[in-house]
C-alpha cells in the first residue's frame, strides 16, 4: 500500500486530496504510476492529461518520471509550483 497525495488543480480534478492504493506489479516507475492512475476514471484522466506538467515527489522529495518507486510510503502528485 502506498499513500497518494494530490495538490492544487490535480486535487480538484481527481476530487480527493489523498488515498491509499495497492500498486500493480507492472508499475515500476513514476511514469508507470501516472499511466496507471489515468485509467482509474474521468477525474484522473483530466487531471493527468498532460503528463509533462505533472510533478511527483516520493517520500517528500522531488522525483523524475523515470525514477523507480521502490518501497515508497508516500507519493505526491502536483502541478508546477507557484510559491515564493
Amino acid at each position: 500500500m502506498v499513500k497518494l497525495i494530490y495538490f492544487a488543480w490535480i486535487r480538484e480534478r481527481i476530487g480527493k486530496s489523498e488515498e491509499d492504493i495497492e500498486l500493480p506489479d507492472n508499475v515500476k516507475t513514476v511514469g508507470d504510476l501516472i499511466a496507471h492512475l489515468k485509467q482509474r476514471g474521468d477525474g484522473y484522466e483530466v487531471a493527468l492529461e498532460v503528463p509533462e506538467v505533472i510533478h511527483v515527489a516520493i517520500n517528500q522529495e522531488h522525483s523524475q518520471h523515470s525514477d523507480i518507486i521502490g518501497d515508497a510510503r508516500e507519493i505526491a502528485l502536483f502541478p508546477p509550483m507557484t510559491g515564493g
Partner: protein, 153 residues
C-alpha cells in the same frame, strides 16, 4: 554555517527586523544581511486575495534543502526562510528569505539563489480570488522561473 537555518511555514505575518535580529544576534562577524520579501501584488485592481496551498512536511523539508545548498555554495553565517500560506491580500507579505555573511556578494547571491529555487521547487500553489466573485483561478507557473534556475548550474 555556524547556525542552523531557520525554516518556517506559517499563516501569521512576519516582522523583518525581528527575524534579522534573531539571525545576527550575538554574532560579531556578520557584515552583510540581504533580505528578500515577496508580496501579494495586484496589477489590475481585480484581485481580492491569493489563497496559498502547500504540502505540509515537504514544504519545510524542501526549504531546508534549498537553505543548506545555499550555505554549501557561499560562506553564509546564517539563513532564514519563511513562507506563509492561507489567504493573503494585496500588499501583504508572502515569503521572506534572509542571508547573512561577512561580505555583501555572498549575501546577495545566497538570497537570490534561495528565491529562485523556492519559486520552482518549494511545494506551494497560489489561487487568485477575484473581487467580482468570478471563479477563482490557479496561478500559472512562469517559464522565466524555470529559466532563472539555469544560471546557478
Amino acid at each position: 554555517m555556524d547556525k542552523a537555518p531557520t525554516i518556517r511555514v506559517q499563516v501569521e505575518d512576519f516582522d523583518l527586523q525581528t527575524e534579522i535580529d534573531a539571525l545576527t544576534n550575538g554574532q560579531r562577524d556578520i557584515g552583510a544581511v540581504v533580505s528578500f520579501t515577496g508580496l501579494c501584488r495586484d496589477d489590475k485592481g481585480a484581485l481580492a486575495a491569493l489563497e496559498l496551498e502547500h504540502y505540509p512536511g515537504m514544504a519545510e523539508a524542501e526549504m531546508l534543502r534549498i537553505a543548506q545548498e545555499a550555505a554549501e555554495r557561499w560562506p553564509l553565517n546564517g539563513v532564514t526562510v519563511i513562507h506563509r500560506y492561507g489567504k493573503i491580500e494585496p500588499g501583504e507579505n508572502i515569503v521572506l528569505v534572509v542571508a547573512a555573511s561577512k561580505h555583501r556578494q555572498a549575501a546577495f547571491d545566497g538570497a537570490s539563489f534561495m528565491m529562485d529555487f523556492l519559486k520552482s521547487k518549494a511545494p506551494f500553489w497560489k489561487r487568485e480570488i477575484r473581487k467580482d466573485g468570478s471563479e477563482s483561478a490557479w496561478v500559472d507557473a512562469r517559464d522565466t522561473d524555470e529559466e532563472a534556475l539555469k544560471r546557478w548550474r
